[in-house]
């Protein structure tokens, strides 16, 4: 008998500050109306490092998260600081399987400094929050949305993330409410 807690779990694999993650957890809670827990996590990323690309294979990381002992949580999302890729794409901000149990998100390419701009912690937190909510949306079965302000809009550049809000549009909200416990 499975004992799934109707809670979303954020796992800190990136040595993030507690306050930073608590703020994100609050925003996630507001969007999904579910309790959000934050746990510290440890994982060896070495097997997923591609020395030619100098990036980490997101597929491998996601598989290892899924193959760990079954989560007690409704959905879990791993938070990283490393540069993620999947074999066919040059980079990704995050990854989650549709209706899958887990997802991952990285802050690496969300930093202004990567684009030669001044560091901005508020912007960074806002971007990371949007990626986290977006990937969790996929884990709850939502596909990309064409509404310009919806958090489920596809974002291939960091500027795209800035253009959208961290909220679901009314249509995605209706779809989400149907699957939330």
């Amino acid at each position: 008998m499975s004992l799934i807690t109707p809670t979303i779990l954020l796992i800190n694999y990136g040595d993030f500050e507690k306050n930073f993650l608590q703020a994100i957890a609050r925003d996630v809670d507001q969007e999904f109306h579910l309790p959000v827990s934050v746990e510290e996590g440890t994982t060896d990323l070495e097997p997923y490092f591609d020395s030619i690309r100098r990036q980490y294979n997101a597929n491998g990381i996601l598989k290892s998260m899924d193959s760990d002992s079954p989560s007690r949580y409704l959905k879990q999302l791993g938070l990283f600081r490393v540069d993620l890729f999947i074999p066919i794409l040059t980079y990704i901000f995050g990854q989650a399987l549709l209706n899958g149990p887990s997802g991952i998100a990285s802050l690496y390419r969300l930093r202004n400094e990567v684009y030669g701009m001044a560091k901005d912690e508020d912007v960074l937190r806002e971007r990371f929050t949007k990626v986290v909510i977006h990937e969790l949306g996929h884990a709850f079965g939502l596909v990309h949305c064409h509404h310009p302000a919806c958090v489920m809009r596809s974002s291939t550049y960091v500027e795209d993330i800035d253009q959208k809000s961290r909220h679901f549009c009314s249509q995605c909200r209706i779809t989400l409410e149907k699957v939330l416990p």
Partner: protein, 446 residues
């Protein structure tokens, strides 16, 4: 519900297939994967995909050969070739062979999104173009049905009522009464008006041609079938199919047609894949189908399935009050198409037209007006421009020689005694014509 774009991913690397599968599923596409070209071709035999994203280098059959085979199956397929930097030259070759585009691995996520957006736009533009083309070609207004007699108004009211539903309709009426015009007026006043109206003249095709025409065929289904072809039922998806001269179809085709009407699906000739189509059917005939049912030459079950609504188009002799309007309409039509000034019609000529019984119905009247405009003086249609007087002249002669004399005289008059043109019109050489003129003692009026 909007059509979901489907994508087939063909790549021998599992990680690539999985990554793309997940990426496209997140975008809401219908996605399927194949690990090699053979598997892809076998999938494509049983169903179509809007976009095929294929690696250029695969063990066994490579992407280029696969593209050629896919294009042979369906020349409109949108194929995007994936390549590594080292094989860009092959990708260019793929473009020359008809690939939609190519993309170099690994892709920038934005490049991939952009490429798929372009392909999707192309698909919707093609669909829209097809629909618009069909609309321009086939859209007929109820105003084209000329007449204000009680008989015509009754038919127009029936058209208006029946246009609101999707029921099958049989239009009956003598040859030349305008059944096709009525058939076109029905969908152009219905919710299907922006979708194709596909017409098939059943009487003009042999049984095997009709089968291929209606259901389409797969490549190689018969000698000369070099490409897969969509049938008329498939083309009418969302719209209307009009089968003219339905009484001429063979018993075998009657069975096939009944099955399609019951299931709204069929299999292309030489194929094994069920194709569905949402169409409305309208048929026309100048025969009494009920009589044919009683004689056993037309299936009763098919008759009742087609004959949900029956519209009878009256013969012209039963609505003679419409003749002046029709004459006016045809004068405008032919003067415009021949780039001439509008002509009028003298009262005795119109009276003569109103007295006639028209066994060939509106078509006969139309032909008379067209001819009168051609042979007339370009200002007014006179009684002599109509074929009645000549018929009378011909009927007053009895022997073949007399008839030949009258006919040669008419042709010479028509061409102002120009011997070369007259001989050409009569399909004889100039010497033969001279001999006939001498034989019948014909004299030039000049």
């Amino acid at each position: 519900m909007a059509h979901k774009i489907s994508i087939l991913i063909v790549d021998d690397e599992e990680s690539v297939r999985d990554s793309l599968f997940n990426w496209f599923r997140e975008d809401g596409f219908v996605v399927e994967c194949a690990e090699d070209a053979q598997k892809a071709l076998s999938i494509l035999e049983s169903r179509n995909f809007d976009i095929i994203l294929a690696d250029i280098r695969m063990p066994g059959m490579d992407g280029l050969e696969m593209q050629r085979r896919i294009k042979a199956l369906n020349k409109d397929s949108i194929i995007i070739i994936m390549t590594a930097f080292a094989s860009v030259e092959s990708a260019v070759r793929a473009l020359k062979d008809g690939a939609f585009d190519y993309i170099t691995k690994p892709f920038d996520p934005d490049d991939l999104s952009h490429l798929i957006r372009n392909a999707t736009k192309q698909i919707s533009l093609e669909a829209e173009n097809e629909a618009l083309k069909e609309k321009v070609i086939s859209l007929e207004n109820i105003d084209d049905v000329i007449g204000n007699s009680k008989a015509v108004i009754k038919v127009l009211k029936e058209v208006e009522t029946v246009a609101k539903s999707s029921s099958s309709v049989i239009i009956t009426g003598e040859s030349g009464t305008g059944k096709e015009l009525i058939a076109k007026a029905i969908p152009s006043n219905s919710k299907r008006k922006y979708f194709p109206l596909v017409s098939v003249h059943c009487g003009a095709l042999t049984e095997s041609l009709l089968e291929s025409e209606l259901f389409g065929h797969e490549k190689g289904a018969f000698t000369g079938a070099m490409y897969t072809r969509k049938g008329r039922f498939e083309m009418a998806d969302g719209g209307t199919i009009f089968l003219d001269e339905i009484s001429t179809i063979s018993p075998k085709m009657q069975v096939e047609l009944l099955r399609v009407l019951e299931t709204k699906s069929f299999v292309r000739v030489g194929g094994n894949k069920e194709v569905s189509s949402d169409f409305r059917i309208i048929c026309a005939t100048n025969k009494d189908l009920m009589k044919m049912v009683k004689k056993g030459t037309f299936r009763e079950d098919l008759y009742y399935r087609l004959n949900v609504v029956n519209i009878t188009v009256p013969p012209l002799r039963d609505r003679k009050e419409d003749i002046p309007l029709l004459v006016d309409y045809f004068i405008k039509k032919y003067c415009t198409s021949m780039s001439r000034n509008l002509v009028t019609i003298e009262a005795p000529a119109l009276k003569r037209l109103e007295e006639y019984d028209y066994p060939g119905n509106v078509r006969e009247l139309e032909n008379m007006i067209e001819r009168a405009i051609v042979v007339g003086d370009q200002k007014e249609i006179r009684i002599r421009d109509l074929p009645f007087e000549k018929n009378a002249a011909v009927s007053s002669v009895e022997s073949l020689d007399d008839m030949e004399k009258v006919h040669i005289q008419q042709i010479l008059t028509k061409y102002s005694w120009n011997i070369s043109r007259s001989a050409k019109a009569l399909h004889v050489d100039r010497m033969t014509l001279y001999n006939k003129i001498k034989k019948y003692d014909l004299k030039s009026p000049l």
